[in-house]
């Protein structure tokens, strides 16, 4: 997308303010507007910035960059806005970011490091590519090829390895022919979300070739961001739909529960609440599967948070906010932790390692007694 291509939509926002709060419930929905308040930080303001740039009345500047990057691209505005432009708000924000990068203004300084690290080591964390699968235990005894490929993602590979381990434990325990690839590269989500598009096609092509080499028929993701990128971004980048079945783990588990592959043991009662990751929720429409999984586990009582499903408050990590606005990211997550605490749940469940990272940071920061667990960890612990 180019800035010019947004022309079709930038006159379609009337600034009626509806994008700012949850429709008919009147709760906060936009982390950016809530924090910074000026019109330019709300979704409608960003649309109008695009309009000003297209009309030549504005030029990119450091202050515009600050505003267009101060957004976790959670997509809550797209749910609340009822005008036709609603489907295009994220596209507008991400195109603004890409254009800012193209003109030499973006991304934020801390986000530039992603590209350098991904170019050198195929991950944004400045870790060695050679260490990508160092979390894999010998006991897994993985083969080069398998029917199912687990696309681990950079965050689970380098920062939240317990999610990756739980996932592989789970799949191998139930007898799935699964493997992971040492040749997996960053899916490119951190680059796309921050407008750094130079390496994206290469990464997508490489990952699709890697999948082909694995001979897998199914790819399963525990990372919501990786799944969103494969499902929503790769077709546009590669010009074709991936010729392979892609499952987020929550959808895959529902399939395995329904066909009897996954069985649970009776266990102690546990109250849990579920946080919808934006990248599988609002971006891909996966709301029911995680709930079906949780409701299938004996002893688990799911208590919904006030804002859930399409209205869920973002964890605050996405869209480059975790790297660009460290304190604010935790502030957003803190609001979510408080909401989770209000349910009376003992465990906060989610299904994204990046959400896990930020929500756990908020748990630490607030001294909350709440525990976080990825859905894969819970399922693994409760397998029959």
């Amino acid at each position: 997308m180019t800035l010019e291509s947004l022309k079709e939509w930038v006159y379609a926002c009337v600034r009626c303010n509806t994008c700012k709060y949850i429709i008919n419930k009147y709760y906060d929905s936009c982390p950016s507007g809530k924090k910074f308040q000026l019109e330019s930080y709300w979704p409608s303001g960003k649309t109008w910035i695009a309009r000003g740039l297209i009309e030549g009345k504005l030029k990119f500047s450091d202050s515009i960059v600050q505003k267009i990057y101060a957004c976790p691209t959670c997509g809550n505005c797209m749910i609340q806005c009822e005008l036709e432009v609603s489907d295009h708000i994220l596209e507008i924000i991400e195109t603004l970011r890409a254009e800012a990068v193209r003109q030499g203004f973006g991304p934020l300084k801390s986000q530039k490091a992603f590209e350098e690290s991904i170019a050198a080591e195929h991950n944004p964390y400045k870790e060695l590519h050679a260490q990508r699968t160092s979390w894999v235990k010998d006991a897994f005894n993985l083969k080069e090829t398998a029917e199912v490929l687990y696309f681990v993602g950079c965050t689970s590979s380098y920062r939240e390895a317990e999610v990756a381990t739980a996932m592989l434990d789970l799949l191998t325990q139930i007898g799935i022919d699964v493997t992971v690839s040492k040749d997996e590269w960053c899916c490119s989500s951190p680059l796309i979300r921050t407008g750094q598009l130079k390496l994206v096609k290469e990464l997508a092509e490489h990952n699709m070739e890697m999948i082909k080499n694995s001979k897998a028929k199914i790819v399963v993701f525990s990372c919501a961001g990786c799944y969103r990128t494969f499902k929503e971004d790769y077709p546009a980048i590669l010009g074709q739909e991936p010729n392979i079945k892609l499952y987020h783990v929550t959808d895959y588990l529902v399939k395995l529960i329904e066909d009897g592959t996954v069985k649970f043991k009776e266990d102690t009662p546990l109250k849990v609440t579920y946080h919808d990751p934006c990248h599988i929720g609002r971006h891909c429409g996966i709301y029911d599967s995680p709930r079906k999984v949780l409701n299938s586990i004996p002893g688990i009582e799911l208590i919904e948070m006030l804002r859930n499903r399409e209205n869920a408050w973002c964890c605050g990590a996405g869209g480059g906010v975790k790297s660009g606005f460290k304190d604010w990211a935790v502030e957003i997550a803190t609001e979510r932790i408080k909401e989770a605490e209000e349910t009376g749940a003992e465990i906060l469940i989610s299904s994204c390692p990046f959400c896990k990272r930020n929500l756990e940071d908020a748990i630490k920061a607030t001294g909350s007694s709440l525990k976080f667990m990825d859905i894969t960890e819970l399922v693994k612990n409760r397998l029959a």
């Binding site: 379609a12 019109e39 504005l58």
Partner: protein, 483 residues
């Protein structure tokens, strides 16, 4: 002109993150949803407290800087677009609901509290009480709607929202903070009497006499039964007869009347609308009845049927009144559950070229002449190639009516905004002679109003303004006849 020194003073008052002179901020605040041409402020400032506003106004007064109060910018009158620069004082951060009194039935709000937030507050904390919401998106300010004498769902019974105000706290242009009404003597905000009623120094002034920092408005008990009926009319005469008759009863609490093209738009049809058939109604009214119990409701239904029958007989035109759930499309019922989002209005003329914009001429008029205003406006709109989307409302039990010409337009179509302005000017010219007065009146329309204003009224208004705002810093582009 806001110098660096002034800017630094503003930053000292509210903090750096809440002052902006960034071009993108000035650009965004330089437009609203109407056809009003761009007007750039020099700075945006977002205070949190009355004391911060007090300090800001002292600076503005010292340096003669225009001050434009702002919350959502959704007034549909260009009222926050400045053509003299100055500072936009965005009051969004002031969104506390400060007090609720169930006995005296009022709530004290900061200006940033929106209809949506008040509704949420009442539903969660005082479900036995309701407020009267505007036919508008939910995130517009309760206080500004009241100060601008807006209309809402129960205006049939209780008039425009200025009449719901029971107390104010105001920062005057010269920096003094004062309270108006009983709150001037105690912390009871329940009445504006019996002291001289000075709320009128601030209601309807479009922010030219100060910045309201607290506003007490009435709430009303939630009725045991609240039921909506739909009336459709074969002609304006029968509608007129029904309006007048119901106004002389205690049957109705709320009404919204739409021209038939408006009804088609609300049902999802877009510009260009199909031809209206001769056998279709000319208008539809949503009539809201409150009742104490089923017997009371039955009795009111019977009276309403009788009014309909008598009106039909008298005018030889037809009116049909049905419970809304039997007659009205679901979409229309949703839009009448206020406050509501209004995509069909905004997007009515958004076609292949995606673009939205919204303007109107809203007039408060006398009940004797609403039909003439309606008919003249209908023709003017058609002549300009705009569908006659017209809204009529009985106000304060028939003491006055609203005739509002709704003009969704497409900002992506070159020249359309200019055409809208021309049409609006004709609409003002056509309706003023009937005693109509534009509400939320844009500056260009105020100049036309000046031609029919009593010079003594104008002199008094100028004296009041000069007294309160000697340097004319407050929203100086508004009520243009004062200059």
């Amino acid at each position: 002109m806001i110098t660096e020194k002034i800017l630094n003073s503003m930053i000292d008052i509210v903090g750096e993150e809440f002052v902006s002179t960034d071009p993108e901020d000035l650009y965004i605040y330089s437009y609203d949803m109407t056809e009003e041409p761009q007007g750039n402020p020099n700075a945006i400032v977002m205070p949190k407290t009355p004391e911060e506003i007090q300090q800001l106004l002292k600076i503005a007064n010292e340096y003669k800087i225009p001050v434009i109060p702002y919350v959502a910018g959704a007034n549909i009158g260009g009222l926050t677009v400045t053509h003299r620069g100055g500072m936009i004082v965005d009051l969004k951060r002031m969104r506390q609901i400060l007090k609720f009194d169930a006995i005296s039935k009022y709530v004290v709000l900061e200006p940033g509290v929106t209809f949506g937030h008040l509704k949420k507050f009442l539903l969660e904390n005082h479900p036995d009480f309701i407020y009267s919401y505007a036919f508008a998106p939910p995130y517009t300010s309760v206080t500004t709607n009241a100060l601008l004498e807006g209309l809402t769902e129960f205006s049939f019974r209780w008039g425009c929202m200025g009449d719901w105000i029971t107390g104010l706290e105001v920062v005057l242009p010269t920096g003094e903070i004062t309270r108006i009404g009983s709150c001037a003597t105690s912390d009871h905000w329940n009445m504006k009497y019996p002291l001289p009623d000075m709320t009128g120094l601030f209601i309807g002034w479009q922010g030219m006499t100060g910045i309201v920092t607290k506003c007490a408005v009435k709430v009303v008990p939630k009725p045991p039964i609240r039921k909506l009926y739909g009336a459709v009319y074969s002609g304006l005469d029968v509608a007129d007869e029904v309006f007048k008759k119901v106004a002389n009863t205690d049957l109705i609490h709320g009404d919204f009347t739409f021209s038939w093209p408006t009804v088609l738009m609300m049902m999802g049809q877009k510009h260009p609308l199909r031809e209206i058939r001769d056998d279709e109604p000319v208008m539809m009214t949503g009539l809201l009845i409150f009742a104490n119990d089923k017997k009371d409701l039955k009795n009111k239904e019977r009276q309403l049927s009788k009014i309909a029958q008598e009106a039909s007989e008298k005018t030889n035109q037809n009116v049909q009144i049905l419970p809304a759930e039997l007659g009205a499309p679901k979409k229309i019922l949703e839009y009448l559950d206020l406050p509501s989002n209004l995509p069909p209005f905004f997007e009515f003329r958004s076609g292949d070229k995606k673009g939205v914009g919204m303007s109107w001429l809203g007039t408060y008029t006398n009940p004797n002449n609403w039909k003439e205003c309606y008919e003249k406006g209908y023709k003017i709109m058609e002549d300009h190639g705009f569908e006659p989307l017209i809204f009529v409302k009985n106000m304060d039990s028939g003491h006055f009516y609203v005739v509002r010409f709704l003009i969704p337009f497409n900002k992506a179509v070159p020249g359309e905004a200019e055409e809208v302005r021309k049409m609006l000017e004709e609409l003002v010219d056509a309706t003023l002679p009937f005693g109509s007065i534009p509400y939320k009146c844009p500056a260009w329309a105020a100049k036309k109003v000046k031609k029919v204003l009593d010079p003594a009224w104008l002199a008094l208004a100028r004296k009041i303004r000069d007294t309160l705002d000697p340097n004319h810093i407050m929203n100086p582009d508004r009520w243009a006849f004062l200059d």
